[in-house]
Structures are given as C-alpha cells and as structure tokens.
Amino acid sequence: MRIRSAGVAAAVALALAAAGCGGGEEPNTTESPRAAGGKLVIWADDKRTAALKPFAEKFGQANGVTVEVQAVANDVLQTTFVTASQQGSGPDIVVGAHDWIGNLVQNGAIDPVQLSATQKNAFHPTALKAVTFSGQTYGVPYAMENLALIRNTQLAPEAPRTIEELVATGKRLKADKKVSEVLCLQVGQNGDAYHIYPLYSSAGGTLFGTTPEGDYDPKNLGVGTPESIAAFRKIAALGEKGEGVLKRSITAENSISLFTGKKCAFLVSGPWAISDVKKAGLAYDVTPVPGFAGAGPARPFVGVQAFYVAAKGQNKAVAQEFAANYVSTPELAVALYQADPRPPALTAALDQLMGTDPDLAKFLDAGKDGAVLPAIPAMAAVWDPFGKAEAAIIGGADPAATLTSAGKTIAGQIK
C-alpha cells in the first residue's frame, strides 16, 4: 500500500511537471492577455514573414503590443486561414493574393478595411480596384504582378509589336539553329489559364461579362461563346498541329529554364522570373505581351498582394490600425519588394524604387491594359476546365466542341 501511494504521489508530481512544460509554449495565451497589452498575430508565407518581422517588431515596441509573424506555406495559407478562423484559432491579419477575397468573404473570414480618401489615393488605381469586392475595400494592397514578354535582346534586339512578328522572329532564329523553341509560354499537360489569358483576351475572348458597376458577373460566362471559340481558333493555329509555337511540353517547371538556357528567345512570365534571368547573365528586356495583328491588345491578369483583417481575430482594433495606417507606409512596401521583387502598390514606394530597378516600370507598363484577376468565388470553377480545354486545343482538339463542353462544365459548377 505504501508503495502504491508513493506511486500516486509521484504520478501527480510528474503530471504537474508535464502540464507545466506543455503550458510553457504559449505563456501569453494561457495567462492573462490583458496584462501583456494585447497580441497581434500575422500570418504570411515564408518569404514575406522574414521581410515583415522587423517592421512588426517595431510596431509592437512603439505601441506596447506583442506582434507575432507566423509563416504558413503559401499553397495552404488560404485554406488553413479559413479553417483556423472558423475554429477561433486564426490570426488577426493574413497576407495573401487578392483573388482569395471572394472565398474569404463568403466564409465570413475577413472584415472590410475603412481607408480614408487620402489613403486610397496613395495606391495604384488598379491595385485598389483589385481589393474592392461588392463595393467594399477588403484589403490593403502592397504589391502587384502581371505577365510580360521577357526577351533575350542578344537573339532578338527588336521588341515584337504583334504575335505574328514574334513568331516570324522566333522561326527565323529556329531556322538558324540559334534556338530550339519559338516561344516559351507555359502550357503543360493540363493547360494554364493564367498564362494563355493574354492571347485569349487579345483574340476577343472573355471569362466573365461585367455588371453595370464594373464587377465580374458570374452569371454571364464568356467561355463557350462564339467569341471564345473564335479566340481559340487563333490559339489553335499556333498549337502543335499548327505553327508549333504553343506546346504542352513547355511547362511551369521548364519554361524559365529553357529561356535562361537560350533554348528560346521569348518568355512570357512575371516578375518572379527576373531573378533567374539575371542569375543566368542574359541581356534581356521586358515589354508588354503582344496581341494578334489587327486584334485587341493582350490583357494579362493583374494580381495584387494584400493585407486582410480577420473577422474572427482576437485583436481587431489593433489589426485595423496596423492594416490601415501602418501597412500603407512606403518603408514597409520597399522592404517587401526587397524580399520578393514585385512592383509595390503604393505609388510613393514605386517612385522610390523606379530609379534603381528599371524593370518595375516595364512590368507596370506591361500590365497597363491588364484585367484584374477575378476574385469572385465562381472563378474557382473556371481554372481547371478552362486550362484543360486550352491544353486539348493546343494538342489539336476541335476548338468548338472542346470549349462548348468546358463552358457547360464551368456553368454546372457555378451556383
């Protein structure tokens, strides 16, 4: 009996010790948060976490708030945020792409941010338009990105004004054995709606119509319409059974390395490709993606990165203060640019960086005719079927039948 009671006593002691160790990880949450003066939790992807940390700490020290920046992998950030918010264990602020807004709003995961007219004017108008959803501003933008034509100036000194010019130059280079591909535009086995969209829009195709207020209208689907079929006939002419300019074998993984390996003189890509191109030591230039001759301009999608205030955060007042009044400072925008070189959404920061990085202005110019990437939840239904239709048509399938069935699939998935 004595042994047993000694055992019980020891077990209890150990239990308390273990509980103490377990609780030690999060002293601020288990103890009174009031005493600590509040805590602000920010979720961002790895790259941006590193850039944000010093600024978050400065904000925290200046205001007596504990600020924690936590890294979540980019590909699961949105779903993790939505799930965690629902359970009440989410952050106060999340950093992500603007096309998440539709889904975040329908899940009640983010709150609008009230920006003053002066604050709104400090942003690039496209960036502000992108974070506006159903008439409300839902995020504070900090960076923009869009596709452009990156050209090896040694192989192709002149920027092509049309796709036809580009194809002619590329074919001449190919005939001279200087390159093996006319154009590096990633298609992949299952297509890539984002990268084909400039050509598709130039040839007259749309994804959605617009409402009178200028928002995308999910009820007015542009895929499967005669215009979209006509647009894809032009794309099919460049495909594997046509000119052989667009190929499914050029994928997200190899398109940039083919360009840096001088296998092609033209690359359609975004600001994220530039560091690889610079590393390869190529002489390059950035120009807008050309459209088809005699057709409309190519309109690449413009995406915006933004800060959102979580609707179910613990510390919404400070989160609003941070997002509305602190994120919109040029210093932070410059630091985020240095972590990942995309054009800042803040005009002041852009002007400051323009002198040191001439590519920024060129990318911005390439996105001048761009279309804001749709943030409506219906867009989720478009990516996959549209991409597959693209891949099938580039592989030689009939544009009319393929696009009609893709349109039906998409329409069936939109509520």
Binding site: I3, G7, A10, A11, L14, A15, L16, A18, G22, G23, T30, R34, G38, K39, N63, G64, V65, T79, V82, N103, V105, Q106, N107, D111, Q114, S116, G135, Q136, N190, K247, R248, S249, I250, T251, E253, L258, A311, Q314, N315, K316, A317, V318, Q320, E321, A324, N325, P377, A380, A381, D384, K388, A389, A391, A397, D398, A401, T402, S405, T409, Q413
Partner: protein, 538 residues
C-alpha cells in the same frame, strides 16, 4: 471456416464466465516496473491536464467530463491488480476509438450536411458576416481623428471615443449614448488634430487599447445618419450597415434597394425572390442529397464505372508488378553463387531510400514529350501523357520503379526463412527447379507475404500522389474535363469535391463513404480467401 476455431460446438470447452476470484498472479513489484508505470501514468495525466486548460477555456464541459473519466479510468486500471486482460486491451481500444472510429463517424456525419466553403459556420455567424460586410461610410460624412479614452481605469473603465472633426477642429466625446462636444480649453490636440490629453479622461495607449480590442470594435456612437465606428485606433468614420437582419421575417433587408433575402433552412443561405443567394451561408443538414448526387448526377455516375475498373487494374498491377519484379530480384540474389550480393542488394534498395514525393515529380519531367529524358535518350517522340494507354503504362512504370525495392526487401527476408532442406529434399525426389519453386517456395512465401500484398493493394487503390504528382489524371478527353484516363477514384473525386467551387466537405465525405465501402468489401473478400489458403498450407 472460423467456426472450427471459435465455434461453440459441444466438443469445444466453453470458457468459464462465472465470477472469478481476483487472482494475484503478478510477480513481485520490481523497481524498474514501478518506475515505468509511474512515468507512463504520470505522462498520461500530464497530457490530460495540459488538454484540460483549452477545454475549460472553451467551456467544452462534455469533452472535459470525457477527459476526466478516461484519465481516471486509466489510472484506476493500472493501479489496481485486477482486470489483467483489460490492461492489455484498453490502450489499443482507446487508440482505435480515437483514430479510427471517431474519424469515420465524423466523416459519415459530415456527409449529411452541406459543410464547405460558404457554409462553414452557424446562421448567427453568417448574419454577423453579412451585416459587417455591408457597413459602408455614409456618403459625404466626416472622417474623424480618433483617440480612445476612458473615465476610469485604462483596463476596466468605461470606454469613450474622443473625436476631432478635421474641418472645424472641434472635439467631441462619443459613447453608446451619443455625441457631446467638449470645451476647447479642456483638450490638447496634436498637429493631426488627434487628442493627446483631455481633462477628466485617461487616454489609452495602443497596447492598452489592444487588450480591449473587442469592446472598441463593438463601440458604435449613434448619429442621425448611422453610427461612428473606429477604423483602427487613430481614425473613426460614420458608417451605416446597408443590410440588416430582421428576425420578424427571418430575412436580410437592403436599406438602399429594399431588396429582401429570406432564410432558406434547406439550403443554408439567404435567397431573394429572383433566386439570388447571398454568398455567406451556414451549415445545415441536407439528408441524403450528397449521397444521391453521387448516383444520380450523370457527370459523376457516368465515368464512375470506367474509373473504378482502371482503379482496380492500377492497384492490382501496382501490387502484382512490384511483387513479381521484387521476387525475381530476390530469387536471383538468393543463390549463394552470386558474387557481391550485398552490393547488388544495396543498389536495388536505393530507389526505396529516395523520397517518393520528389521521385514522382522527377519521373513526370522525364516523360516530357520534347524535353524529357526518356524520349531524348531513346530517340523517340512519344506523347506519353497525351495518349490514354501510354499514360497508363507510364504511371505503372513509375509505380514499378518506386515499389519493387520494398517487395525485394521483404521477399529476400521471407526466402531466407524457408529452410533449404525443403528444396533439397524436393530435388532429391526428382523435382525440377521450377517445380520446387512453384510447389514449395512460392506457397510458403505467399503465406508470409499475402498480408503485405493486400496492404499494398489497399494502399495503391487510394494512391493519390502516384497520379496527382505525375499525370494529374491526364489525358482528358476534349469533351470532358472532369475525368481523365489515368484518374483513380480518389483523384477524380478530389477534383469534384475541391476543384470546382472551393471545398465541398459534405460531398467529399459522401464520396469517401462509397470508396470506403468498396475497399472494405474487397479487403473482406481477400482476407477470407487468404485465411482459406493459410489453412490449406498449415
């Protein structure tokens, strides 16, 4: 068959079920035994205490009761000398309940709801989200510079907003009762007009305000046009909720357009007369709708059978192919005449040591039509993933390469366990090498390896990565982008449930019930067959 072992026939002794006197057949208490017991029980209780805090915080009393009961039960069980069989069974049973039974029950329960994007929370949460999202600034209204203050203690005193009108510079104090102007001599303001000190009020620092965040967010100072709310901690605006919930009609009304969205308890959404739905919905039970959709939706039921057949072929070919190749290698290296067996074995096991995740991606790139290693090396121009049969052959080839080292490993082990005398005896009796392999080695091997083969089959039946990281289901017929030639049921349903309109967990759960049933039937049939086999050979 089982009856022979477990049946209650007259010949089998019936286990004694009467009250058994407690038997103290345990040996003397050793120090090590006691120490292990104390440490393990202590850890258990420690984990329980650690888990109790969040449960208390969340007020989850049912969960807390369960936790206390389970922990107390475990402590009692291992501190008493009785219930010896239970001491062996309880830990496994607890884990079975927690990690098998509960998830299955939860999945089944989810299958009867519309849980998914846009339908995650409760109706109340949806209403709050709709109202918050519709708060807009009153047109032409003032933007105030804000300072949060209190008349009492910064941590507990009643909160007020000190608001400066930027145009006139007048300062007002606002609380739930309304707005009152303050005398100019009582306040000090900074260059931006923000109040820095006010007689009778204590200003909150951002840190102090952060601790009372929720109260500040909820504080609205009523005005004629709406209410003044905080935008952060340094600005305030006059805003008005455009859409409000009316409990009388159970609907949402838009103040500007007068449009009404009525709650639909079957859909879990507010629906207008013209059929327009508000995006923010809530979770409701939908009965068998998800399950019937699998059967009735022609887009799902149509390709289901074809996908199932390929799925079965894929699983059988993956398990069988790797086993055949692994066994062949094991047999070849089993012969003592082979020199340098160890080095061969190490080389053959290498693919198993590499992370399959990365290898699948490498293989995918090797199958690239124009730039892939395979076509370049062999001087071919095969569109591997563009053609149904070549794509299927390609994924099976990848599976073979990834899987055979494992089968080689286990077959080598099993071969070494078969006594050499058996085959020697057979050859003395005049059996050919093939005969002795076919009649002696293989049956003995299968007794040991058939559970592994079944496990390999079940694993490959749901081998999501093998398809998703290589072909992603390609090639897809031009007229149907929802199901491809190499799609398994799991990749196909993943696309249905998560590809289109965000995540539809309810529907995904319904499909997993179907897949679970299929795999369970196949496994049950196979286990029955193996048991017969074991009886034949034992």
């Amino acid at each position: 068959m089982e009856n022979r072992e477990f049946g209650a026939g007259p010949a089998t002794p019936v286990p004694h079920r009467g009250p058994v006197p407690p038997r103290h057949h345990a040996g003397p208490v050793t120090v090590t035994g006691l120490a292990v017991k104390v440490v393990v029980l202590g850890l258990t209780v420690g984990i329980a205490v650690w888990a109790a805090f969040p449960l208390v915080d969340a007020g989850a009393w049912a969960g807390l009761t369960l936790l206390v009961a389970a922990t107390a039960g475990l402590c009692y069980l291992y501190l008493t000398r009785r219930y010896v069989p239970a001491k062996y069974l309880v830990p496994g049973t607890l884990f079975l309940l927690a990690f098998q039974v509960l998830p299955v029950l939860y999945t089944v329960a989810t299958a009867f709801t519309n849980f998914g994007d846009g339908h995650r929370g409760s109706k109340q949460e949806a209403i709050v989200a709709i109202q918050t999202a519709s708060v807009t600034q009153v047109p032409g209204s003032t933007e105030y510079a804000l300072a949060v203050a209190t008349t009492g203690d910064p941590a507990t005193g009643p909160l007020v907003f000190l608001l400066t009108d930027p145009a006139t510079g007048t300062v007002s104090v606002g609380d739930a009762g309304g707005l009152r102007q303050l005398a100019a001599e009582d306040v000090t303001v900074d260059a931006g007009g923000r109040v820095t000190a006010a007689r009778g009020y204590t200003l909150l620092t951002i840190g102090q305000a952060g601790a009372r965040s929720e109260e500040i967010t909820n504080l609205a100072v009523p005005t004629a046009g709406g209410a003044i709310r905080s935008a952060g901690l340094s600005r305030a605006y006059e805003g008005k909720a455009q859409r409000t919930y009316d409990a009388g009609c159970d609907c949402i009304r838009d103040a500007e357009s007068g449009k009404v969205w009525t709650a639909d308890a079957d859909l879990g959404a507010f629906v207008a007369a013209d059929g327009e739905r508000l995006a923010q919905g809530w979770k409701v039970g939908v009965g068998f709708q998800n399950l019937t959709r699998v059967v009735t939706d022609p887009n799902i039921s149509g390709p289901f059978l074809r996908t199932l057949i390929w799925n079965l072929c894929f699983a059988v070919a993956s398990a069988g192919g790797t086993f055949a190749l692994g066994l062949l290698c094991a047999l070849a290296l089993h012969s003592p005449r082979v020199r340098g067996r160890t080095i061969y074995r190490v080389l053959l096991i290498l693919p198993y040591a590499m992370p399959s995740f990365a290898m699948l991606l490498v293989w995918r790139d090797m199958f690239n039509t124009d730039f892939g290693l395979l076509n370049n090396l062999l001087g071919m121009h095969v569109d591997w993933f563009g053609n149904a049969w070549s794509a299927r052959a390609a994924v099976l080839l990848v599976q073979l390469w990834l899987g055979f080292p494992y089968m080689f490993l286990v077959a080598t082990g099993a071969l070494q366990a078969i006594p050499a005398q058996l085959t020697e005896a057979a050859s003395v009796d005049g059996a050919s090498r093939w005969q002795s392999f076919r009649r002696i080695t293989l049956p003995l091997l299968l007794v040991a390896l058939s559970p592994l083969l079944i496990a390999s089959f079940a694993y490959n039946f749901n081998n999501f990565n093998a398809i998703y990281l290589t072909t992603e289901g390609a090639p897809f017929p031009a007229d149907n982008p929802s199901v491809g030639a190499t799609d398994l049921l799991i990749t196909y349903t993943y696309r249905l449930a998560f590809g289109g309109q965000g995540a539809q967990y309810g529907f995904a759960a319904a499909i997993s019930i179907f897949i679970f049933t299929l795999v369970a039937i196949i496994a049950a049939v196979t286990f029955r067959r193996t048991r017969q086999q074991e009886e034949v050979y034992s």
